[in-house]
């Protein structure tokens, strides 16, 4: 009886969760559990980051020492004008690369931190929510490109589905002229597919795949990945491309949400 009761409660909670998700929010039980777990999880995340940085410093001490010596030498040669210009140019390039997503027209980049990741479910949690103006459907960008789409939003945090999730579907184009468009969807960890609308679309291996801009929420030309393989089915008039995604969770701790 207890077993049947617990399964029934689980069924009811699951149904409530599904209804809430369809409305773009989190059900009350999940919200309660998330609110209980989130503060200590954020604390542990920060502690883990600090510990990781500390041990990185120790393990890279040799490289840091060499880098330090090199910087000292550069400082000593500060009078060298050409070297100064080169140094400044390198810094400008780095900042521009980092900043390119902050200046997308019509969009505001909200900085966020990944506070949790559930790889089995292709889902991440972010430390920004409706208090920061976040809404379902907004894109989550790492320094390399499109990482995920916001799915549910709470005042202080939100959940996002990675673009490699089989549930996620967005319009994308190959960066060519004219750009062939297709529907991009996930195929699990590390792989994406684009099903092109035109079976005769001209696409090649190593082509860059970017967002199309057909969605009001997702701006155009955000890097998604690179074509690894083209699959053509002449019988069904179908052309699809396997895409290696640029943005991966391992490389992303700090991200932007574009609103």
């Amino acid at each position: 009886m207890l077993f049947i009761g617990l399964i029934a409660i689980g069924y009811v909670l699951g149904a409530a969760q599904t209804r809430a998700r369809q409305d773009g929010r989190v059900d009350s039980v999940s919200r309660l559990i998330q609110r209980l777990a989130e503060p200590p999880a954020v604390l542990v995340t920060h502690m883990a980051n600090s510990t990781s940085n500390f041990f990185d410093g120790i393990s890279h001490a040799g490289a840091l020492k060499r880098e330090n010596a090199m910087l000292r030498a550069q400082a000593a040669a500060a009078a060298d004008y050409a070297q100064q210009v080169q140094l400044r140019q390198g810094e400008i390039d780095g900042l521009l690369k980092l900043d390119r997503f902050k200046s997308l027209p019509g969009k505001t980049a909200v900085p966020a931190e990944v506070t949790g990741a559930f790889l089995y479910d292709n889902r991440i949690t972010l430390d920004v929510g409706s208090n920061d103006g976040i809404q379902p459907g907004m894109p989550v960008i790492s320094g390399r490109g499109l990482l995920a789409l916001i799915q549910t939003v709470e005042p202080g945090h939100s959940e996002a589905l990675l673009i490699v999730s089989p549930v996620t579907q967005i319009w994308a184009v190959a960066a060519r002229n004219p750009p062939p468009a297709g529907l991009l969807r996930g195929e699990g960890p590390g792989s994406l597919y684009v099903d092109f609308l035109d079976p005769n679309a001209i696409v090649d291996i190593r082509d860059e795949i970017v967002t199309s801009g057909l969605s009001t929420r997702i701006p155009p030309n955000i890097p998604v990945g690179r074509v690894l393989r083209i699959e053509e089915n002449l019988d069904y008039g179908r052309k699809r491309a396997l895409v290696f995604p640029w943005a991966s969770l391992g490389a992303a701790r700090e991200v932007f949400v574009l609103k």
Partner: protein, 160 residues
Amino acid sequence: MRALKVGVVFAVTLFVCAVLQQALAYRLAIFGARPDFMLVALSALGVFANRAGGMALGFFDGLIIGALSGANLQHYVASRTVTGLLLGWTSGNELPRSLPAVGVIAAVTTVFAQLVLMFLAPPHSIGSFLADTIRGAVYNGVLAIPVYALLKKLLAPVVR
């Protein structure tokens, strides 16, 4: 008083493992194997539980991981409740409780729970899911040993 102590230890263990799952699990991958702290908690605590306790433990374990991950609560609750029932049932059968035995129990529990989940919610790629499950089972088996040792110290005076 005994029941209260057991309940508190169970609740605190589930809570700590939930926090670790949320904050650390994805950082601790070794050769593609990722720990599942909630299954570690279920395995280590389930050894101390009877059938009813195992079911309740599995229910809350599934509820927490389902809520945290945003995945379907029904699937997680059902798979973990069945696993908790099985753990409680085997615990009543005088299975050996040496540390290595608990490691094996945790690994088997992981495989069983994930297989039930797989049947309830078939993943996109069953092959990689099974490979992840087997790697995770080994990881969980290793993690469950110190967790069980700690729980044994806490619960030994009140549970057998």
